[in-house]
């Protein structure tokens, strides 16, 4: 299949390895990956901070860029959630019904990585190899906005060599929440402290998730503590093979 990658602004600027891993993984599975270079950002930060007027041009850009694509993959649950649950709402708030309809049509073809793999491509064993102790944090928007359920875990369980350990209180938010982490830094940090306690209790070397933003939060805390546990995006684990090591 031909699949367009919406890499997200965060992965583009800070975590290019996540985009690269997504490309490598999908190509290994025999698909053609395209990267429309006119893409920028889904506008979630603007929308969730209340700046809907400022989000509108970003919604329009996303629709313009990806409208002709058959399938769009996003290595982020929350950016997928924004495309699916917020783009049409933003357009309607400013009376642009035509844009809202187009946004809904593109959103219906936009999938978070684990959704794309399991639901669209029908694959749970991607042939990955990752010989490490790993715990998985189901990010809030994957879990409750996309209802991604156990798709990421099904993919991880099929990774060769992996020692997958369950994360206690996994479904509790890590405290990121976009600008919440800045505006309510103290509460955000208190939530992070509990999440780190759970992650460290597993004894995992690696905490993984489908969202670079939450991983940046958890990883930023673990790094500050020199805790000896790293954060790595789900795409990077799924892209790893015996040869790539």
């Amino acid at each position: 299949m031909r699949i367009a990658l919406f890499v997200t602004c965060l992965a583009d600027g800070l975590f290019p390895q996540v985009g690269q891993a997504t490309v490598r993984l999908l190509e290994r599975l025999g698909h053609e990956v395209t990267f429309p270079q006119a893409q920028t950002c889904c506008g979630q930060m603007h929308t969730n901070t209340g700046y809907l007027r400022e989000a509108l041009p970003l919604v329009r850009r996303y629709v313009d860029v990806f409208e002709d694509c058959e399938l769009v993959v996003v290595p982020s649950g929350s950016c997928t959630g924004s495309v699916r649950h917020q783009h049409a709402m933003v357009a309607r708030r400013f009376g642009d019904e035509a844009l809202a309809r187009r946004a809904e049509a593109v959103a219906a073809r936009t999938f978070e990585l684990s959704e794309l793999l399991v639901d669209v491509l029908g694959v749970e064993d991607v042939g990955a190899y990752y010989p490490h102790r790993v715990t998985y944090h189901p990010t809030c928007h994957s879990l409750r906005l996309l209802r991604a359920g156990d798709r990421p875990l099904r993919l991880l369980r099929n990774v060769a060599g992996i020692d997958l350990v369950e994360l206690p209180d996994a479904e509790v938010c890590c405290g990121f929440g976009g600008t919440f982490a800045i505006k309510n830094g103290a509460v955000s940090t208190a939530m992070l402290a509990d999440k780190m306690r759970s992650v460290l209790a597993t004894g995992a070397e690696v905490c993984t998730a489908g969202d670079s933003s939450c991983l940046m939060h958890i990883g930023g805390g673990l790094s500050r503590l020199n805790a000896g546990t790293a954060t790595i995006h789900l795409a990077e684990i799924l892209a790893s093979t015996q040869d790539s090591r």
Binding site: C9, A11, D12, G13, F15, P16, Q17, G19, Q20, E32, T34, F35, Q37, A38, T40, C41, G43, H46, T47, N48, T49, G50, Y51, E54, A55, L58, R61, Q86, M89, R93, C140, H141, R144, V172, C173, G175, F176, G177, G178, T179, F180, A181, I182, K183, N184, G185, A186, V187, S188, T189, A190, M191, L192, D194, M216, H217, G220, G221, S223, R224
Partner: protein
């Protein structure tokens, strides 16, 4: 778009809908209270597990939630009709209905009614709405003592404190503190009082029993009012409410106008949803219902005060009005990771937690509670737990947008945040500007040590206070792609 119907918000200077400090400031203080953190963590964890267990028992839980939502939507769309029907039915059965447009008017009505009886004391059923309007203070100003009879409300009242949870108002107190409060504030208490739950309960029981037997006036809120028969309903756990509702000669009920439901068949839905969601019980121990006056049995003078206090203003916002569906179960508080850590006082309103963050700003006007819609990471746990399917995360975003729009209209100079957001939007609306910005961001590499950045200037210093930031990579994704594939999108041919 919001249709402005000219409806007034809850007035300032009366009641408890506005905090003294913005949420982040109040929360920071609460986070340092280790006892509070432990109490909240333990209590919410316990009640979450109980709720999950009893909800899982019902195969039609999702259908019940949908039914609860549909009934509330229907009722709010015909609120005028059902309120007039309720008034008619209550009046026909010997009760008296009063209409209060706000807290001041409701307080005046209740004070006048109590004065009319000549009583200097009243007993109260646990009620959030009377706390919303500051009724106890208004009565005290008129020389009338209001005695809270719910155990937790009693602890809060004797401690000269504020409730911190809708259902468990004294969740922030432990038994040693309760013992101290009782010894200090409860007349005639045994000086050898221990801090065991049984001893504390017995002390409260003896204290309250005297109040029940001497009270001539009872004051309550209402969980539901059934329009078709004019029946009022209070659900509770202790039976103390039942005492207040049946022993005094005069019963005054204050109720928000959104509490009316059309029929008894609708009550059936809510009596399944409410106890499971609030206390994690299949059924609450006491359900009291009364219809006007029954000669020779129970209160012979029955009053109902219907309160607006900003509710019609909330109703005027098509997106915001679903906050009025709330049945005050507090399930959203118990699953909220922000509430669990910050506690109820940080919200500054009698309505804390996720529902408070979307209800209080609508009752007071967003300006007066501007920090509350931001007091959430938008994790969505509240929406999943809500028995009437209030989409709290979307509502929070909607109220943030209202705040931004109203602030932009009110200010001549935009805030630094508004400027930054507009600039980010301008940059990201163009791929060329965006790519240039990413290249500029790479200058941040100068700040890193060992691949991480430990300190950034404000406002990002709020992040780096506790969290590192990874150093920007040598090559962005799009630079890598262009290096690999050139200018194209990678499409073959």
């Amino acid at each position: 778009m919001i249709t402005f119907l000219g409806m007034p918000y809850a007035p300032r200077g009366v009641g408890h809908l506005r905090g003294e400090q913005p949420f982040p400031v109040a929360a920071r203080a609460a986070l340092a209270d280790t006892q509070l953190r432990r109490n909240l963590g333990k209590a919410t964890r316990t009640i979450r597990a109980k709720r999950a267990a009893v909800v899982a028992e019902l195969p039609d839980w999702e259908e019940l939630r949908a039914a609860g939502q549909a009934i509330k939507q229907h009722t709010l769309a015909r609120l005028d009709h059902y309120l007039e029907q309720l008034e008619q039915q209550v009046t026909a059965r010997g009760g008296t209905v009063h209409w209060a447009r706000d807290a001041n008017e409701a307080n005046r009505i209740v004070t006048r009614l109590v004065r009319g009886t000549g009583a200097a004391e009243v007993v109260k059923v646990k009620s959030i709405v009377t706390d919303e309007i500051g009724l106890n203070e208004a009565l005290a100003d008129a020389g009338i003592a209001a005695h809270e009879t719910d155990l937790a409300e009693l602890i809060v009242q004797l401690g000269h404190d504020r409730p911190s949870h809708i259902l468990v108002p004294a969740i922030h107190r432990n038994r040693a503190e309760i013992r101290e409060i009782f010894l200090r504030e409860m007349p005639g208490v045994d000086p050898g009082l221990s801090d065991t739950p049984a001893a504390l309960t017995e002390a409260a029981r003896l204290y309250l029993r005297r109040r029940f037997l001497s009270a001539r006036v009872g004051i309550s809120g209402a969980n539901f009012a059934i329009a078709e028969t004019g029946t009022l309903c209070v659900v509770e756990s202790e039976g103390n409410g039942r005492m207040c509702l049946t022993l005094p000669d005069t019963l005054i009920t204050v109720m928000g106008i959104e509490k009316v439901i059309p029929s008894w068949r609708d009550l059936e839905v809510f009596l399944q949803l409410l106890p499971r969601s609030s206390t994690g019980e299949r059924m609450n121990p006491y359900t009291s219902m009364w219809t006007g006056v029954t000669p020779g049995d129970g209160p012979q003078r029955v009053h109902l005060v219907l309160l607006d206090n900003g509710r019609t203003a909330a109703l005027a916002d098509p997106a915001g009005r679903q906050a009025l569906h709330c049945i005050r179960c507090s399930a959203c508080l118990n699953v909220c990771p922000v509430y669990e850590r910050a506690g109820g006082h940080a919200y500054g309103s009698v309505y804390p937690g996720p529902i408070g963050a979307v209800l209080s700003p609508q009752l007071t006007g967003v300006e007066d509670n501007a920090s509350l819609p931001y007091a959430s990471s938008l994790c969505g746990a509240c929406y999943d737990a809500c028995p009437v399917r209030i989409d709290i995360p979307s509502l929070l975003v909607h109220l943030r947008a209202r705040h931004v729009e109203e602030a932009a209209r009110a200010r001549r100079v935009p805030t630094a945040e508004a400027v930054a957001m507009a600039a980010a939007s301008w940059v990201m609306a163009s791929p060329a500007r965006y790519a240039a910005a990413l290249r500029t961001g790479r200058a941040g590499r100068a700040l890193h040590r060992g691949g991480r950045i430990r300190r950034l200037p404000p406002p990002l210093s709020a992040w780096t206070a506790a969290r590192d930031v990874p150093a920007p990579p040598a090559q962005t994704f799009r630079e890598w792609w262009r290096h690999e594939h050139g200018d194209g999108d990678g499409t073959a041919g």
